[in-house]
Every structure is written in structure tokens, then in C-alpha cells.
């Protein structure tokens, strides 16, 4: 039970990060029906920028409290990522808005390669340790001293993500900009006739998504304690899977999908080893029984298959419910 609770907490934390990144995908998809393939790279740049800021500030021996340094990292990373998001939209998407669907996807792949390798030139190809300036403090929330714990970092990640998601919902459903965004996503031409500046709204969608991505990048960096130029790829892919799981283009869906995917992944990684432990078959096969004497952990699939779960979820969802859990049936635009 403790393992279950622990994996649930880990999954929830991870899921919140996925959800925040997934929002970036789903917002862009909702408004222009295109997958922003380079969004994962934006998250990576957010993590890397904040890493540089934090290292610079801790290296300067300022007497700032750790939380202020972390906040400074976010404050610098967010505008940098916003600029990257804006550039992406201008270079890769705006000129190709009426082109065949493959065209913007391919430019986005190209930009994603460029961003990755520029990051590699700037921050080296090795995984960099993300400075652990906030002391990790575990809390035993079950009352059992050996039981499941939740750390202060996890609490901060979950709370921040929830706040950002609430803020985004308020923005989309309560403000004038939100109305403009929803109108643009329904019909660009008519929205334009109603006096909405379509280009500005689309740019702002990219920029808001990138800002969320920047914060997510900082959270991932602090959570795993490591940052690398390739980190955005797999994270982006998982977040995209989460967005599809929830129903792409749907904000609530992205949040639900992200949290679900995080929990599925954590539980999967936690239990797949036990479930596929071949030693359970010892009674049937003497060969297995002999090997289990030496190695009681003779598993078919270990937790190193963790990354497979997201893809399996993605493929399953697309096959059985292509519009996702909360998505409406989308018509073919192909």
C-alpha cells in the first residue's frame, strides 16, 4: 500500500508537469489545428536558462534566500521562452498557415533540431546537475515513519501547476483575450471580421504556451536535479501524448490527460517489474526455478521500460478513441 501511495504521489507530481506542458500543445492545436512539434524544446530552453541564472546567482555569493534565486531563474526563463515561442510562430507557422499540413510539421522538426543543437553549443552536450538550492524535506503523510512521503519540492510543483492551470482557465474563459482566442479557434475568417487581430491572438497563444513551458522546464529541472539539451524531446512527446489522451484542443482534457499519464507511468514503472517477475512461474519450470535461486528479481520487463508506457497509451487512445477522453468528435480536415 505504501508503494502504491508513493508511486501515486510521484505520478501526481510528474503528471502536473506533463499537464502544464500539454497545455502548450493543446492551446496551439486548439487555435490553428497544428502540432507545435518544437514545444518540448521550449521547455528545455526554460530549464537551461534558469539553470544558468541559478548557477550565476549562487556563484556570486549573494545573500539571497534559495526561493528568491529560484524565482529569479523563473523570471528570466519565462521571457526567454516567450521570445523563442514568438519566433517559432513567426518563422515556422505563420508563413505556412495555408500550406499543406505536412509543411509546418517539417519546419517545426527542423527548428527543433536547430534549437537542440544551439542549446548543445551553449550548454554542452553533457547532462548538467541542476543546483539543488532548496533543501528537499520529505513529509510522512500516512503517519507511518517508514511509509510513503511527499517532499516540499513535490508540494510546490503540484501547487504551482494547479495555480497556473486555474490562471489559464480564468484567462481563456473570463477575459477579452480569452474570448478572442476562442473565437479565432472556431472560425478565423469570421473572428477577423469581428475586429479581432488574428495574428496577434495566435502569437499570444504561442507566447502563453511558451511561458507555461518555461515554468514546467524549471520544475522538471528541480525535480530530477538534472538538465540536458535532449530533455525536451521525450518530455514533449509525453506531454503531447497527454494532450491527445485528454482530447487535443481541450484545456481541461490536457490537464486530466497529463495527470492520468503521470500516474499511469509511475504506477506502471512501479509494478511492471513485480507483475512480470518470472519467478512466479517457478512452480511450472525447473529452469526458471534454478535461475530464481541466484536472482529473485528475474523480471521480463523492468522499470527501464517506463518510457514505453506513454507511447502505448498514446497509440491505444488514438486507435480506440481518437478524439481523446474529453474531446469532441473532430471532423477530418486533412
Amino acid at each position: 500500500m505504501d508503494i502504491f501511495l508513493q508511486q501515486l504521489v510521484n505520478g501526481l507530481t510528474l503528471g502536473c508537469v506533463y499537464a502544464v506542458v500539454a497545455l502548450g500543445y493543446t492551446m496551439v492545436y486548439g487555435i490553428i489545428q497544428l502540432i507545435n512539434f518544437a514545444h518540448g524544446e521550449v521547455v528545455m530552453i526554460g530549464a537551461m536558462t534558469s539553470l544558468s541564472v541559478i548557477i550565476a546567482l549562487t556563484g556570486a555569493h549573494t545573500s539571497l534566500p534559495p526561493l528568491a534565486i529560484l524565482a529569479a531563474g523563473i523570471v528570466v526563463a519565462v521571457p526567454v521562452c516567450m521570445a523563442v515561442g514568438y519566433t517559432l510562430e513567426r518563422v515556422a507557422y505563420r508563413p505556412l498557415r495555408n500550406a499543406p499540413r505536412l509543411a509546418p510539421l517539417i519546419t517545426a522538426i527542423g527548428l527543433s533540431i536547430i534549437l537542440q543543437h544551439l542549446a548543445m553549443i551553449i550548454w554542452s552536450r553533457n547532462p548538467l546537475p541542476f543546483p539543488q538550492i532548496v533543501a528537499v524535506r520529505p513529509y510522512h503523510f500516512t503517519g507511518n515513519p517508514d511509509g510513503a512521503t511527499i517532499t516540499n519540492v513535490q508540494i510546490v510543483i503540484i501547487v504551482t501547476s494547479m495555480l497556473m492551470m486555474a490562471g489559464l482557465l480564468a484567462l481563456v474563459y473570463r477575459t477579452k483575450l480569452g474570448i478572442a482566442m476562442r473565437a479565432t479557434s472556431q472560425n478565423q475568417a469570421v473572428a477577423g471580421l469581428m475586429g479581432i487581430n488574428i495574428n496577434t491572438v495566435i502569437s499570444l497563444t504561442f507566447v502563453i504556451g511558451a511561458a507555461l513551458g518555461a515554468v514546467a522546464g524549471v520544475m522538471v529541472g528541480t525535480y530530477y536535479g538534472i538538465a540536458q539539451y535532449q530533455m525536451g524531446f521525450i518530455l514533449g512527446l509525453k506531454a503531447f501524448s497527454a494532450a491527445v489522451l485528454g482530447g487535443i484542443g481541450n484545456l481541461a482534457g490536457a490537464m486530466l490527460g497529463g495527470i492520468l499519464l503521470g500516474v499511469i507511468e509511475a504506477l506502471g514503472a512501479g509494478y511492471v517489474g513485480d507483475l512480470t517477475n518470472l519467478c512466479q512461474l517457478s512452480a511450472w519450470s525447473t529452469a526458471i526455478a534454478e535461475r530464481c535461486v541466484d536472482d529473485p528479481n528475474l523480471t521480463l520487463f523492468g522499470s527501464n521500460y517506463q518510457d514505453v508506457f506513454a507511447f502505448l497509451v498514446l497509440i491505444t487512445v488514438l486507435v480506440f478513441r481518437p478524439s481523446g477522453l474529453l474531446g469532441e468528435r473532430v471532423s477530418d480536415r486533412a
Binding site: 502540432i35 505536412l102 510539421l105 517539417i106 501524448s241 491527445v244 518510457d307 514505453v308 481518437p322
Partner: protein, 361 residues
Amino acid sequence: MHALLDPRQHPRGAWLGIALIAAALVVLPFALTSMAGTNWVRITNLAVLFVLLALGLNIVVGFAGLLDLGYIAFYAVGAYVYALLASPHFNLHLPFWFVLPLGAAVACFFGVLLGAPTLKLRGDYLAIVTLGFGEIVRIFLNNLSQPVNITNGPQGITLIDPFRIGGFVFDRNETIAGLHFTGPIKYYYLLIVVLLVIIGINLRLQDSRIGRAWEAIREDEIAARAMGINTRNLKLLAFAMGASFGGVSGGIFAAMQGFISPESFVLVESVMVLSMVVLGGMGNIWGVILGAVLLSFVPEVLRYTVQPVQEKLFGRMLIEPEVIRMLLFGLALVLMMLFRPAGILPSALRKRELETQKGSA
């Protein structure tokens, strides 16, 4: 280029051109060996291998219009089938004329396996799913060393058998009729033969009923179905054919290199093959070949020029050639899509489409 090489349009010029190209292809490895060393023959072989891969992917992306970002997985499957059945790893040494077709068949099976559940998906969803599929294959190759050692994990498989026909071994140096044949030169001729066969298949496919049906699906799937085309079977066929070409190339790669590991089958390789198809001109066989040759040789040339230039300018190497290569790839993809979306040598149909689009916009 297609028109130039069409004997019906320029009979004499075309045959002369074909004869010249053939002569150049025959002489090329010896010229390279004497002028630049055996290493350049190896580089040429890899370039031809990439041409094969690009032609395979062209069936899926260019002809049928299905964006596949996990194509390298089929290459990996072909390579691993060959490596497992013809190496000391399982102590199996089956002959290549059996293993190579088997590799193609297994890759073909994987192609259908990927194609079947994704038939209904639209372009960009399909891209992501194929990308995920490629990653799944790679993760399995990396981890299938436990509990039973199948793929030997990240260490890969070594000492893979070279091709062998009777007493004729492909990686042994030999002097035949006064000419010194090194291993790479032998593989070069083998690759050229395979390449000619695959180009032949592609040309025939393109103008066949199947090829026209693919084109119709690419342009408008619903209209194609209304015309009585069995879109499901034809899309599966595109995946299967593309995959089996990838499988054959993979088998040759394994035999030629003698060593494979999951490192050779990462996403970047898929993107590179896709870049070749896009850069050359999706759907045009000659364009794809040009794209593959360009993207294979330019990085090698860079490797030999970037380093000395940087050392002369800055006194040391600032940016590795590998990184510059990737940056150029990315830039090429972006610029091509922005300024010449149909590729260097666009297929006639794509060109027409783009012109009418420009006219109507």
C-alpha cells in the same frame, strides 16, 4: 531529369547519358581508392545505403503521403534480424540469401503492425505515433538483454558475418583480372546492383495502378475511396513496401559494418532520411536520390573542411562538425519548406499543385 533520361523523348541523348552514368558508376570506386583512399569508398557505400533508405521512405511519404517519423525502426529490424542469425551471438551462421529476405519479411510484418492501428489517423497524428513506434523499438533493442540475452543491449552485436557466395567473401581483399578489389569495393558493386533493382521497382510502381492509387490517396483520401480505391489495403501496402526496403538496407548495413548497436537507430536518423526525401523532392525518385546523395556527402566534406578552417581562424575547434551538420539539416528543412516546398527536383504533379495554389491564393 526524368525527361532527359526518358528514351522515348530523346532517344540518342538518353542512351548516351545512361552509358556515361553507368561508366562513371563502374569506375568510381577505383578512382576514389586511388585519389582519396578506401575510406571514401566506405563513405560512398553508406551514401548508397541512405539512397536505398530514402527510396523506401519515399514510397510511404512521397507516394502515399503518410508521414512516417519512425522509419529507422524498420532499418533496425532488418539489421538485427541479420545480426542475430549470422553472428557468433547465437552461434548461428545462416547464409545471407536466406537471412536478407527474412529480414525484409520481418520488417514488412512490423510495417503492417504499425500500419494497421494507425490507418484512420490524419497526417500529424500519424507522424507522432510513428515517432513513438520508432522509440519503442529502440527501447526494446536497448533492454532486451534481460532476462534472456536477445539483443545484447546497448553493447550491440559484433563480429557479424559478411556476405558470402560459395568461396567468394565480400570483405576479403582479392585481385581479380589484374584489379585489386578491396572489401568496400565489392560491397559497392553489390549495393549498386541492389540500388538498380530498387530504382527499377520504384519506377514501375510509380506508373502502375498501385502508384496512381497512392497518388490519389495522397491528394484526397475520401475522393479516392469514392473512386473505388481500397484505401485500407493500399495504405498497408505502402507501409509494408517501405518497411521491407528498410529491412533489406538494414541487413546490408549489418553485414557491411560487422557491428550494430541501438545507437545507430535513433530518431535523428529517421529525421535525416526524411530530410533527404523532402530536400530532394517528395515523390520524385530522381529528386530523392539527389537529396540522399547530397545529405550524405555534404557532412563528410564538412568533416574534412570545418575542422581545419576553424583551427586556422580561432586556433582551436569551437563547434564540432557533427553539430554543424545537424544545424544545417535543421536549417535545410526550414528553408526548403519556406521557399521551395516541393524540393530541389519536384515531382511534376507537386509542381503543378503548387503553381495552381499560388494562382488561386
